[in-house]
Amino acid sequence: MSENKPVADQTPDENTFFDKPRNVDIILKVFYVICALLVVFDFVVHRHIYVSFEEIPAFYAIYGFVACVVLVVLAKLMRKVLMRDETYYDPEESEDGKA
């Protein structure tokens, strides 16, 4: 199933699109512009309000950003409590119990 071992040096194609930092920069700039436009739209377009939270200007943009930052920060904290070695469940009886 896993016959294809990595062949690291087989890369004459180092200059693919995403390898050039300039291209990545352009993509990111376009992305930022779209983000800015979406916020601008929020003030131009009249969107329906169903829930009171939605009255906050650009509510969805703020919420999306904050939600993801909170998610990642909390997940990183979770790692401190929950993360174990990869072989944590592996060995049968070789745990510290034998001491």
């Binding site: 693919t16 992305f31 916020v39 329906h48 919420y63 979770m78 790692r79 993360m83 469940y89």
Partner: protein, 559 residues
């Protein structure tokens, strides 16, 4: 050409039997089974038709057709076709037979007319699917498969117990609305909850799915959990408790998904998250919400299947799917990359992709039902889905830092299956009306309006912005090879460890007692042979015995 009133599982079971006796090449012909079966169902499946059979005193319904079962019937045929196409290169007959039987069992359950028939197929789902995990033939997979089987069989036992108790109380075996009132209904509820991945009961899913074969997981992700959703929608619609359970299901897995390294495990967590949206919809119980739940189940099978297929392709070519050791695969697997992005866009509910048209129904129903704060939770989960499934999966597998891996593009049959799924994702997302027309409940919903499209785009783009910002700041948690503790810790660590400690304590106590006994015995005064039988000693003993007897007699009299 068409056979009316044919229970849809039968062609699959016959095909599974044929696979065992025909040469391996026959697997190509097996593709015809879901195609023919699906069309047959489409042309001849009429609502209200059923087939009964008698077992002992029970009149059981093998095939009951209504709009809900038809919807899932179509879905399972599509899923089977995609999964079979995806696994065409697999020559392992065990997997072929198991896959066929498994898909057939799901169809059997979807058209079950009574609870006993449901139970039979419920158990068959467990017994057939576990082989797709064991077929990986590693020690880890064998153990994970065993744990999976224990959970599934437990669910079956609860379903049977609940069914019998329910029959005892009501005299009915009908597979219809039950509601949470009696103990019997609670048993059934928990049985469904296990298969559905309720919080605390979900670990079989995240434990076993990443251990199955690359093709097996595609089968697994399609059927078991969706049958549970189907049964919930039939038996417990409008159960308030489900809204809270569902909201919890949408939120807690995304935290795990962010820090998990095995990308198929990330997808398993995100599967629970998607199930949460469906469970919420069933809990609300309005026509819009139930339609949303069913539509989302329909779409989820396809886009989650697609994502599992892309990761399966990577696993097939590279041998692992650890985010920490992948990256840059787009260079040699461009098609798989594109399919992965389509799946990611669909699960994130990008406009014009399938997730958008179904998840929004549940969200809208949530607002209608007045659950404002739970709606905020679902919105949080929506942003989180995009974060871990929409960005993390494609980014760490195909882009990120160049891992130096240059695997070949996925085999043609895999690409074909991913292509079918991708087309469906885009088609349903762009022309949702066809799918809407198949939905079981009477309701009209318009997914595309300015408000909804704009707000969804804002949510997603700013989630992506958060990802970019966190990455640039170096705050994004790196992919690490690790195990993250989940509920399974209780039975994989605490329980064995406790058992181990108890055993150790027992053997220590046993040793201490034995040692003590030995010391006591060895410290006893050694009685000299010669003195034992001396007349004086005998007299003393006899006197002693006499004294005890007298005492006993005296006590006996005085009482």
């Amino acid at each position: 050409m068409w056979i009316a009133q044919l229970p849809p599982f039968i062609p699959f079971f016959i095909a599974a039997f044929l696979v065992t006796i025909l040469p391996s090449k026959s697997r190509y012909a097996m593709l015809l089974v879901p195609i023919w079966g699906g069309l047959n169902l489409f042309f001849t499946g009429q609502e209200g038709s059923w087939i009964t059979y008698s077992v002992m005193e029970f009149e059981l319904q093998l095939m009951k057709v209504d709009r809900l079962s038809l919807m899932f019937g179509y879905l399972f045929h599509i899923a089977a076709l995609i999964a079979l196409t995806y696994s065409l290169h697999v020559k392992d007959k065990l997997q072929q037979v198991a896959g066929m039987l498994y898909a057939g069992s799901a169809l059997g359950a979807a058209f079950a007319g009574d609870l006993l028939t449901l139970f039979i197929f419920w158990e068959l789902l467990a017994l057939t699917s576990v082989w797709l995990i064991w077929a990986r033939r590693t020690e880890k997979a064998t153990k994970a498969g065993m744990r999976y089987l224990i959970f599934q069989v437990l669910s079956g036992v609860l379903l049977l117990a609940g069914t019998l108790a329910h029959y005892h109380q009501t005299g009915s075996l009908a597979f219809e609305y039950i509601g949470l009132e009696s103990t019997a209904s609670w048993l059934i509820f928990i049985a469904l909850g296990i298969k559905c991945g309720f919080p605390f009961l979900h670990t079989w899913l995240t434990d076993a799915y990443p251990e199955a074969t690359p093709t097996g997981t595609v089968f697994l992700s399609a059927f078991t959990t969706k049958i549970a959703i189907f049964a919930l929608a039939r038996m417990f619609p409008g159960t308030e408790l489900l809204v809270y359970i569902g909201a919890a299901m949408t939120c807690f897995p995304i935290f795990y998904a962010v820090i998990e390294n095995d990308l198929r495990k990330v997808l398993a967590y995100s599967l629970i998250n998607q199930l949460g949206f469906m469970v919420c919809g069933i809990g609300i119980g309005t026509a819009l919400a139930l339609n949303g739940a069913v539509a989302h189940a329909f779409n989820d099978v396809i886009f989650k299947g697609l994502l599992f297929m892309t990761m399966g392709a990577v696993l097939h070519r590279v041998g692992h799917v650890n985010g920490s050791n992948l990256g840059g695969l787009y260079k040699t697997m461009p098609k798989t990359t594109v399919f992965c992005i389509v799946g990611a866009a669909s699960i994130s509910a990008f406009p014009l992709f399938s997730g958008f048209v179904s998840k929004s129904m549940v969200m809208a129903a949530m607002i209608e039902a007045g659950h404002d704060y739970l709606w905020l939770m679902l919105l949080f989960a929506s942003a989180g889905v995009f974060h871990h499934a929409g960005i993390k999966i494609p980014f760490f597998a195909f882009f990120a830092h160049d891992s130096g891996l240059r695997p070949k593009e996925a085999p043609t049959n895999m690409l074909a299956a991913m292509f079918i799924a991708s087309v469906l994702c885009i088609f349903i997302g762009s022309y949702p009306d066809l799918m809407y027309s198949l939905l079981p409940w009477e309701n009209s919903y318009v997914p595309y309006d300015i408000t909804h499209t704009l707000t969804q785009l804002q949510l997603l783009f700013f989630s992506a912005l958060a990802f970019v910002w966190l990455n640039k700041k170096g705050l994004y948690p790196p992919e690490l090879r690790s195990v993250n503790l989940d509920m399974e810790w209780f039975y994989r660590k605490l329980l064995p460890q406790t058992a181990f400690k108890v055993r150790q304590l027992a053997s220590r106590t046993n040793g201490a007692v034995q040692a003590g006994f030995v010391t006591v015995v060895s410290n006893l005064p050694v009685i000299k042979e010669s003195s034992t039988y001396s007349a004086a000693n005998l007299t003393k003993r006899m006197a002693g015995v006499l004294a005890i007897l007298l005492l006993v007699t005296y006590l006996g009299k005085s009482i």
